[in-house]
Symmetry: D2
Subunit: 349 residues, 4 copies
C-alpha cells in the first residue's frame, strides 16, 4: 500500500471526477468527456467498470493514462463461495481483456511480484498470493523458468527500493509481462475487500510518473506491467471526512426531498450519497458554515486538530484475516488459470 | 472483546464521569465523590490510575464495584523494549496489589483463561498468551495441576458460552483464583495498545451483573476473578463521534482562548480535549446546532445515516500484529513472574 | 499422539496378529480366529479394512474391543485433490457405518475434541481441525449449543489431564456423542499421512482400560466416543527396527526364490514384506544370528546401544506442514457433512 | 537444504576423514595431514572447531577449500536460554574471526540471503531470520541501502535458480559481503539443532565448484560469501545406516573390551563410536558378513531393499518448531550485533 497523502485512494473508481460523471445530471455527458471512456456493466453479481484514459483524461483525474478494470461484488462476504466464484470468472475474463494487445506465447516469460508486508495482516495479500504459487509450483504444467515469482517485502524494510528489486530481477529474467499484486487503500469503507482493480498502468507510488525509484511500470522497466489490487484499508482521517460528508449529504437530501427515481442502470447504493449536490442553505442551521466547505477544507481542519496518532490508524473489516486469505487465493487462482489456459497452455494460441 | 453497544468502552478510565473528575474545576471534589476513590501517580514512564468504587460509585459510573488499576505509557511503541520493561515492573507490582486480600499459597490452584478469537489479529491476545504458557509449561517450576490454562475460543464459535466453559473447568479444577486475559475496546484511539487494565471485577459482557451466562466473576463462579485487558480496537463509529467532538472542543477552546495553566499533576495530553466544556455559542456559526448536541445525540444521528458496514469496521494501529505479540508476552511474563515469586515460589510467603 | 513405548503403533492394521492373518497361508483361517472379524474391500483408490473384535479378540491383539475402520490410499500425495475427494466420500460413509447403533437426532448434542499440540507440526491436526470448525461456525446451519468443539492442548501442558478436561466439558454439555480427533504414530512409514482410522473404542493412552485419567471413552465418560486418527509420525527406533527387518525379509525372500503368485485380492505392496517367514538359515551367513531374533530382541538391542536422543526423534514426510493442513480439512469437512446430512440436517431422520 | 545424495552431510565435522583424524591413534598426525589445519577448543559449554583447508586438503575431504568454524553445544535444548547466550557470544566472535581478512567499513554494503522453504518447518530458518531483519529494519541504526536482505524461496519453487536470484540482486546492490543463511542436513542425529557452521566457502549444492547455477560463492559472484548453517534434519536412510553401524561398533567395542582412556582433550560422546575400528571377526557370528561391509555397501543394500518412500522422510527432533524459531533468532541477533559493532557501528573502524 502506498502512503502518499491524507486523502489517498488507490481506486480509480473513487477518483472524484469519475464518481461525479455518474451523477444523474451528468450521465449524458459521460462519454463525451475528452480523454476518458467509461463502460459499466453487470454480469451476475459482479459490477464491472472499464475505464480508458488518454493523456488528457489522465491529467483531468490525476491518474496515469491506460486501462482500468474494476470488479465489484457489493454484497460479498468472506464466506461467500458463490460470490468469489463469480468474481473469479470475471477476473479471468478481464485478464484476457487487458492483455489482448500483448503478444504472449508458451515461450513467454511472466514475472509475478507480490508487494506488501507479510507481518501486517491487511498488507499481506501480495506475499500470501506468492506463497500459494510456491505451494503449487511443482504441480503446475508450466516449464521451469517461464513463470517466476517473488514477494520482495516492503521498501525500506529490505534495504532496497521495491522498484530496484523488480528491475534487478527483470533484467535477469527478461520477462514479456510483469504482474504486480498489491493491497490498496480505499476512500470509501463500502469498497473494502469487495473490489478488485486491474490496470495496465503499473504501480507508481510517488506523484511523478517514470521517475520514482519505486515505480513499477512499462515506463520504468520497458516491460508491460499489469497491477492487480484489492482495497484492504481506509485511513482513519479518510473515514472521518467521508462520514462527515455523508451526514451532510444524507440530511441535505432528506430535507430537499429529492424524488430521485431509481434507475435500472444505476450501480446502486455504492454511489447513492454522491448523486446530489449538498443543499448548503438547507442544512446550515444544523451543521453551520462547515457544511459548505470543500472536502479539502474539512480535511485540512481535521489534520490540524486531530492528534497525529490518527495518521497511524487503519480502518479494516473485523474479518480482515479471513478476507486476506480469500483474496490471495482468488488472485493466485485466477492468474494461474489465465496463464495456463491462455498463455502457456497450448502452442495453438 | 465485548460488543455491547455503539459507544462501548471497556476502559474505566474513559468513563465520562471518571474523566470529568479530572477536569481542572472539579479536581478538588474528586476525592469527595461518594463511592469513588481515585489515585493517580506516575512511576518512570508509567501512569498508574487506581480506582476503587463501592456500590454507589459503581452505579454512578455504570461499571461494577471493585478495584480498577490502569497502567499507561502514552509514548509506548511496539519496538519500545524500555517501555515494556517499565510496564512489566508496574504490572507485577499491580498484581501483588490487587491480590493482597486473597489468600494464596504454594498449595493454591490458579486457572488462567485467555479469551478472544485466534483468527482475528487484534482479538488474539488471550489465545497467544495461553500459547506462551504452553510453550513454557515444562520449564516452569510449578507443580502439575496448580496452574491450569485454556483459550476457550469465542462464544458462539464453539457452541458453548464462554462463561459456561469457565464454569465447567472451574468446577473440576476448584481454583483459588481465576485470571482472565482479554482484548478490550477503547473509546479514544490514543489509548490503543498503550494501556493495561487490571480489575478484580471480572468480565461481564451483558449489562446486568451476575446473571449473564457469559459473565466470568466472583458472583457467577464463587471464585475471585481478576481480569487483565489491553485496548486493541476502537469501533469505527466511536472514532468518528470522538473526532467530531474533538473538533468542536479544540476550536471552542481556541476561540475562547482559555489560558489553561499546565499543571505538573495533569496526566497531560491524554485528557487535554476534555478539560473545558464546549462554548457552544462561540462555535455555532461554524458548526451549527450540532455542536451543542450531546454525545448520545451525535451518535444517534450517525447510526441513522451511516451504512451498516461501519458497525463491522475495526480501527487499529498499523502494527497491530506486532502489538498483539508484544502484549501477549508482557501479560504472560508478568503473570508468570508474579505467580512464581509471590504464589508458588516459596512456602515462606 | 500417545507415547507409550518404543514399538508403539496406534494403528490396528499394524498389530502383528492382524497383519499375520493376512499372509497367504493363513488367509483361510482369517475369519475363524475367535473374537476377530475382518473385512477388506477396495472402493476406487481407497482400501477399507473393517475389524470387529470382542473381548477375546481384543486380548489377542492387545487392543480394546470394538470396531475399527481403516481407510487408506497408498498412492496419496499432499496435492492429490482426487485422492482426498475419494477419501472424503468413504470417510462420510464410514461415519454413517460406525454410528449406526447410536441414536442421534437433530436434538442431539455432539462434542468434538481436537487433541494434540498446536506448536508441533505433525501433532497439530486436532487443533487445526477445531480452528476450521471455528471459522465456519457462523455459516453452519446447526442450532447453537448442539455442536460444541474444543482443542484442549496437550496434557501436562495445560495443568489438567486431557481426560479430565473432556470430562468437565462433557458434564456440562451432556453430549450424545463425543468425536475425538488426534494424530497417531505408525510403525510403518508407508502408512504416514495415507491412512485414516476410525474407531468407537475411544482414546486410552495408558495400558489399562477405563482407569486412566487420560482415557476418553465410553467407559470413562458414559458417552459413546468415536476416535478419528491419522498416522503422522514414526518414532525413529521403530523406523530402524522396521528397516532392518525389511532387509532380512527381502533378502530371505530373494534367496529362497519363493514364487509368490500375485493375487488380485492382495492389498498389495503394503503387506508384501510380511507375507513370508524369514528363512533364517539362508541369510545367516550374511546377517548372522541377529537375523533370527524376534522384533522384541532387535528392539531391545537398539534401546541399549543407541543414544537416548533417538527417542526424541520424529520421522515425518518432508511435506508434513502441507499434509497436516490437508488432513485437518479432510476430517473437518467429512465430519461436518456427516453431521449436517445425517444428524442435524432434517427432522425426518 | 541441498539434496545431493543418500549419505549427504552438509557438516564438515562429519566428513569421514575429519572424524577419523580424531581417533586416538591418529591424533598425533592430525596437524600433519597435508592441506588441513584443525583446531579444537572449548569455551564454556561451546565446542569450537576451526578447520582450514587448502586445495589439496579440500580434495582429500571432498569439501571446498576455505575456513570452516563449527560451534556446538551438545547439551543444548530449545528452552536453554543460557546455552543460546553462550552460543551467541561465540557466534559473534566467530563472525569477527572469519571476516578478519575482508575490508569492511560503515560505507560497506552487506547482502543477507535467507535460503529455504518457508512452508517446511525444518527448512524455514533462513526465511524466518529474514523476517526478523524486516521487523527490526526501522529501529536499526544502519543507513538505508547498506544492509539488504531477502528470502528468495526455494529453487524450482520460484521459477528462477537461487543462484541466479542472488546474482541479480548482487549486481544491482554491489555488496562488499554476502551472508547466506540455510538449514543443513546432518549425518548424525546428535548434531541436530545443536551446531552452527560458519564457512567462507559459500553454498555450492552441485558437485562441481564455480559452475553450478545454484552456487553462491566468491567464485560465482566475485563477492566474498559467508554461509551460516544449522543442521535441522537427518535423512531417514542416513539415520538407519548410522544406527546399524553404531550397533556394530558398540558391540564390537564391548566384545574386545578396549580400555579406552578418556581424554580431557576428547570432544567426548559426540565422537565416541568412531574411535575404534570394528573388530569384524569378533562380531561376525552375531551380525554376519554384513558387519564387515563399508558404509557405502550397507547404504547400497538399503537403497535397493527399502521402498522409495524412505527417501522422502525427514528425521527431526520433536520440538522442531521451537528449534527453528530459536536458531533464526540466534543467527539474526548475532549477525546484527556483529554488523552494528564491527562494521556499521563506527567510522573509527
Amino acid at each position: 500500500m502506498d502512503q502518499r497523502n491524507l486523502m489517498r485512494t488507490d481506486l480509480i473508481d473513487e477518483v472524484t471526477e469519475v464518481v461525479q460523471h455518474r451523477t444523474e445530471k451528468e450521465k449524458d455527458t459521460l462519454y463525451e468527456t475528452p480523454g476518458i471512456q467509461m463502460n459499466e456493466e453487470r454480469k451476475g453479481r459482479v459490477h464491472i467498470t472499464h475505464i480508458e484514459t488518454d493523456a488528457s483524461g489522465a491529467e483531468t483525474i490525476g491518474k496515469k493514462a491506460g486501462t482500468y478494470i474494476t470488479l465489484s461484488v457489493p454484497t460479498l462476504t468472506a464466506e461467500d463461495n458463490d460470490g468469489f466464484n463469480e468474481l473469479e470468472k470475471q477476473f479471468i475474463s478481464s485478464l484476457q481483456d487487458i492483455h489482448r494487445q500483448i503478444k504472449l506465447s508458451p515461450q513467454s516469460k511472466v514475472l509475478v511480484i507480490g508487494l506488501g508486508n507479510r507481518t501486517i495482516t491487511p498488507d499481506a495479500i501480495g506475499p500470501l498470493a506468492i506463497d500459494l504459487f510456491h505451494e503449487e509450483m511443482f504441480t503446475m504444467p508450466i516449464e521451469f523458468g517461464h513463470l517466476v515469482f517473488y514477494a520482495p517485502g516492503v521498501t525500506g524494510q529490505t534495504g532496497l527500493e521495491t522498484g530496484e528489486f523488480v528491475k534487478a530481477i527483470a533484467e535477469r529474467v527478461q520477462p514479456d509481462l510483469i504482474l504486480v499484486i498489491d493491497a490498496l487503500a480505499a476512500r470509501n469503507q463500502d469498497r473494502l475487500c469487495k473490489t478488485v482493480q486491474i490496470t495496465n498502468t503499473g504501480i507508481h507510488p510517488g506523484s511523478g510518473v517514470g521517475n520514482s525509484r519505486n515505480e513499477i511500470s512499462f515506463e520504468s522497466l520497458g516491460v508491460p506491467v499489469t497491477a492487480i489490487g484489492v482495497p484492504m484499508v481506509v485511513d482513519a482521517p479518510v473515514l472521518i471526512v467521508e462520514a462527515i460528508e455523508t451526514v451532510f449529504k444524507v440530511i441535505s437530501s432528506q430535507i430537499t426531498e429529492t424524488a430521485r427515481p431509481s434507475s435500472a442502470l444505476s450501480v446502486g447504493p455504492w454511489l447513492r450519497s454522491s448523486d446530489e449536490p449538498i443543499n448548503v442553505e438547507a442544512i446550515k442551521p444544523i451543521f453551520g458554515e462547515w457544511s459548505g466547505w470543500s472536502t479539502n477544507e474539512i480535511r485540512g481542519l481535521l489534520q490540524e486538530v486531530l492528534p497525529p496518532h490518527h495518521q497511524q490508524l487503519f480502518v479494516t473489516p473485523k474479518e480482515t484475516d479471513a478476507w486476506v486469505i480469500r483474496h490471495a487465493e482468488l488472485i493466485q487462482t485466477s492468474v494461474l488459470k489465465w496463464l495456463q489456459d491462455d498463455v502457456f497452455g497450448s502452442t495453438a494460441h
